[in-house]
Amino acid sequence: MALRVMVVDDALFMRNMLKDIFVRAGYEVVAEAENGEAAPQLYQDTKPDLVTMDIVMPKKSGIEALQEIIARDPQARVVMVSALGQDSLVLEAVEAGARDFIVKPFKEEKVLETVRRIVGQD
C-alpha cells in the first residue's frame, strides 16, 4: 500500500511542491492543512503514516500542533519543515518529539531520503 502522507504548511506553494514530490515518489497525500489549528484534528481523522509540518504558521504554530499530535499518538511520525536560521525552533520541535527535520530550500532527494529513513525505521 502506498505511503499515506499529510502536508501542513500555510503556503500553497510549499504544499504543492511537497505534494508533487510525494506523488512522484508514489505516495498518497491524504490530507493537507494550512495552519496548525486544523492539523491535529485532521491527523486524527486520516491517520497518515507521516506528517510534514511547517514551523511558523498563523493561528497555531507547527510546534504546538506537533505537541498535540504527539500527545494523542506518541508513535506519530512528524517531520518538521523549517527555514534556515530557525535552529532554536527546530531544537524545540525535536525535543517535543519530531522525528526529523528538513530545511528550506530543500532538494527532492533530501526530502525523500528523510521520509524513507523515518518510515523504514519502525
Partner: protein, 616 residues
C-alpha cells in the same frame, strides 16, 4: 572428560585443514581428475570430521562427514564434475563459518539447507546414507554462549554548516539510544538542548547490534558526514582472554635451544656472582658482555616462536581471486612469492583483512580485463615488506587530483601543489571512494583508510607506487615484532621520549642558521628539497627550549612527505619492550605505548606520524 583444553588446538588445526581444502579444490578445478588431489581433499575432510566429532561439535562433524562421503565417491571414480566444485566450495565456506561460530563461542550455524540440496548421488549409494549421524560423545563440553554486548567508542562527524546542528545532534543521540546503551557522550544531550554547537559527536555505546548496522543507520541521517569506531575495549579484552588459553605448535629444536640458552644464562649468573663478590671488574664486564649476547639470542628465539608464515593467511587468497574474477568476468591470475617468510602472529592477525582488501581492490580497480596479481613478501632491513601488485592500468595522478577536488577532500590549489606521490595516498582518505564505486567485492566495510590505519597502528607504513599503464603496487612495511622494538630516545622539554626507529629515516644536526621561515612554516633544505620543520615540544604542548646553534632534527615521513621534527637532543637508541597504555591513556592519539627504564622511570613512545596526521 574435559575437552575444553583442546579447544584452541582444535580451532587452529581445523582452520589449517579448511585452508588446505579450499586451496586443493582450486587446484582440482585447474587440473580436473587429479586423483592425488582428490585423495588429499578426502583426507582433510576426514581429519576435520574426526576432530569435530571428538569435540562434540555436531554440525561441524556432520558437514565434514558429508563432504568426506562426497569426496570418497569421487575418489573411486577419479573425477569431479565442475558443478560439484562449486558445491564443495560452498561447503568449505560453511565449514569456515561454523569454525567462526565455535571460535566466538556461539551456537553452530545450521547446515540443514546445505545438506538438503546436495547435487549428487551420495544418497543413492548403497549401504551409506549421508544422513547417518556421526557418533558424538555424550558429555557435552559446550556451555551456552554468554552473550555480552559490544562496547565501543563511536565518532560521528556532521557535514560542515549543517543547519540546526544541535537538533541534528539530538536526533543522532536518540538513534544511538535506540541501538543500545548510550554510556557517555560529548556533547551531552543537555548541552545540545541548550543549543550548543555540534560538529561531531563522540560517544561510548554498548550494544548487541552489529557495528556495521549502526554505522549504516547513522549514515542515513541527513547531515551525517562520517561515522567511525575508535576503540573497542571488549574486543581487546577478548583478544587478551583468547591469547591466555591459546596453544601454538613449536618446533622441537627451538625448544632445545631454549633449554641450552637457559643453561648458559645460569652459568653466567654464577660467573657474575663470583665476579661481584671478588670485585673483579674485568671478569664482571666480560660476563655482562656475554650475558647481553645470550639475552639477544633468547630474544631472537622467542620471536621465532611467535612467527608464523605468511602462508597461513594467504591460503584464502586463491579462492578469493577465483570468485572475484568469476563474478567480474575478468581473467585474473594470482602469484604468491615468498609466503614462507615468518611474521609475528599478532601482526599477521591484524593484516589479514587489509591484505584481502588490497587483493580485492587490485581485482576490482587494478586489473581491466586480464592480468596478474602478485602478492610477495620479504625482509627489507629490519622490516617485513608485503606487497600487492597488479599489472593493470595503474592510477593516474591527474584523475585522482580531480576526483579528490570533486569529493571536496582537498581544494583545487592544494591538489595542484601536491606531489604525485601524495596524490596517490589520497585514496587512503576516508570518503575517497564513493558509493557508486563500491562494488560487491571491495565495498565490504574495510576501506583503504582502514587498511592504512591498521598498518600504522602496528608501527608500519603503507606506500603506493603506481605508473600509468604499468600497474600499481601497494606496499606494507611492518615491524618484525610488536612487543620489542628498536627506539630512538630523545629529550624534549626535559622529558625523555621514545620514537620507534621504524619512523626515523635519519637524524640531522641542523645549523640553526640554515632554518628559514616560509609562510607559516619553518623550513630547511635537505638533499636539494625544502622540508618543513615541526617542533615536537610544540606538538605536545610542552614549553619550548631556546634554540642553540644546533637544531637536533629527526627526518621522518608523514603522509608520504619528508619532514623534520625538532627535538632538544638525542639520548641514544636501544631495544625496548613496549607495553600498551591502559584506558584512558590509550585514547590519546600519537601515544603508542610506554617502556620502563632500568631505573624504573616510564618513557612514553610517541608516534610522530599519527600525531602529525591528526594535527590540522
Amino acid at each position: 572428560m574435559d575437552m575444553s583444553k583442546y579447544r584452541e588446538l582444535f580451532l587452529s588445526e581445523t582452520r589449517e585443514h579448511i585452508n588446505n581444502l579450499s586451496q586443493q579444490v582450486i587446484t582440482l578445478e585447474q587440473e580436473p581428475g587429479n586423483r592425488e588431489t582428490i585423495n588429499a581433499l578426502f583426507r582433510e575432510a576426514h581429519s576435520i570430521k574426526g576432530m569435530a566429532a571428538t569435540m562434540g561439535y555436531n554440525n561441524t562433524a556432520q558437514l565434514s562427514h558429508h563432504l568426506e562421503d562426497l569426496l570418497d565417491e569421487f575418489r573411486n571414480s577419479g573425477d569431479i564434475p565442475s558443478a560439484t566444485i562449486d558445491y564443495l566450495l560452498e561447503g568449505i565456506d560453511l565449514l569456515d563459518g561454523l569454525l567462526d561460530d565455535l571460535q566466538a563461542d556461539r551456537q553452530e550455524r545450521s547446515t540443514e539447507a546445505f545438506l538438503a540440496k546436495q547435487p549428487l548421488s551420495v544418497a543413492s549409494r548403497d549401504g551409506k546414507s549421508p544422513e547417518r549421524p556421526v557418533a558424538v560423545p555424550d558429555d557435552k563440553i559446550r556451555e551456552e554462549p554468554l552473550e555480552e554486548p559490544d562496547t565501543f567508542q563511536i565518532l560521528i562527524e556532521l557535514e560542515k554548516g549543517t543547519p540546526a546542528a544541535a537538533a541534528r545532534g539530538m536526533l543522532i543521540l536518540r538513534e544511538l539510544e535506540k541501538a543500545g546503551n548510550l554510556k557517555t557522550c560529548k556533547p551531552e544531550m543537555a548541552e545540545l538542548r541548550e543549543g550548543s554547537p555540534c560538529e561531531q559527536i563522540q560517544a561510548w555505546v554498548s550494544s548487541f547490534v552489529d557495528k556495521a548496522q549502526i554505522k549504516e543507520t547513522l549514515l542515513k541521517i541527513s547531515g551525517v558526514a562520517n561515522v567511525q569506531f575508535i576503540g573497542d575495549r571488549r574486543k581487546n579484552d577478548r583478544r587478551r582472554r583468547l591469547a591466555g588459553g591459546r596453544t601454538i605448535r613449536v618446533r622441537a629444536d627451538l625448544l632445545d635451544q631454549f633449554v641450552n640458552l637457559t643453561g648458559e644464562l645460569i652459568t653466567h649468573r654464577n660467573m657474575l656472582n663470583r665476579a661481584g663478590k671478588n670485585r673483579n671488574w674485568d671478569e664482571l664486564n666480560k660476563a655482562l658482555d656475554s650475558a647481553g649476547r645470550l639475552i639477544d639470542d633468547l630474544h631472537h628465539n622467542v620471536l621465532q616462536v611467535r612467527l608464523m608464515p605468511l602462508q597461513s593467511i594467504t591460503g584464502r587468497l586463491p579462492r578469493i581471486v577465483r570468485d572475484l574474477s568469476r563474478n567480474s568476468g575478468k581473467q585474473v591470475a594470482l602469484r604468491l612469492n615468498g609466503t614462507d617468510v615468518g611474521i609475528d602472529r599478532v601482526i599477521l592477525e591484524e593484516i589479514t583483512d587489509p591484505l584481502i582488501h588490497l587483493v580485492r581492490n587490485a581485482v576490482d580497480h587494478g586489473i581491466e580485463e586480464e592480468g596478474v596479481i602478485t602478492v610477495s613478501a620479504g625482509r627489507e632491513k629490519g622490516l617485513i615488506l608485503i606487497e600487492v601488485a597488479d599489472d593493470g592500468k595503474g592510477m593516474d595522478p591527474q584523475i585522482l587530483r580531480q576526483k579528490a577536488v570533486d569529493r571536496g577532500l582537498v581544494s583545487q590549489a592544494e591538489a595542484h601543489s601536491m606531489s604525485d606521490r601524495d596524490v596517490l595516498m589520497l585514496v587512503c582518505k576516508p570518503g575517497f571512494s564513493t558509493a557508486e564505486e563500491v562494488t560487491e567485492t571491495s565495498g565490504r566495510g574495510v576501506g583503504m583508510d582502514v587498511v592504512k590505519a591498521a598498518v600504522n597502528n602496528l608501527g608500519g607504513t603503507l606506500d603506493i607506487v603506481s605508473e600509468v599503464g604499468a600497474g600499481t603496487r601497494f606496499q606494507m612495511r611492518l615491524p618484525l615484532s610488536v612487543a620489542i622494538i628498536k627506539i630512538l630516545l630523545v629529550s624534549c622539554a626535559g622529558h625523555a621520549l621514545a620514537i620507534p626507529i621504524t619512523r626515523v629515516q635519519r637524524t640531522l644536526d641542523l645549523q640553526t642558521s640554515e632554518i628559514e621561515v616560509s609562510g607559516q612554516h619553518r623550513v630547511f633544505r635537505h638533499d636539494e628539497e625544502e622540508l618543513c620543520l615541526y617542533s615536537l615540544a610544540e606538538m605536545l604542548n610542552l614549553p619550548q627550549a631556546a634554540t642553540g646553534e644546533t637544531t637536533w632534527t629527526i627526518l621522518t615521513e608523514v603522509r608520504g612527505r619528508q619532514i623534520g621534527l625538532q627535538v632538544d637532543g638525542f639520548l641514544g637508541q636501544r631495544d625496548a619492550f613496549i607495553k600498551p597504555t591502559g584506558f584512558p591513556l590509550n585514547l590519546l592519539t600519537g601515544l603508542n605505548g610506554a617502556t620502563v627504564e632500568g631505573d624504573g622511570r616510564v618513557t612514553f613512545v610517541i608516534d610522530p606520524q599519527s600525531l602529525l596526521e591528526n594535527t590540522p
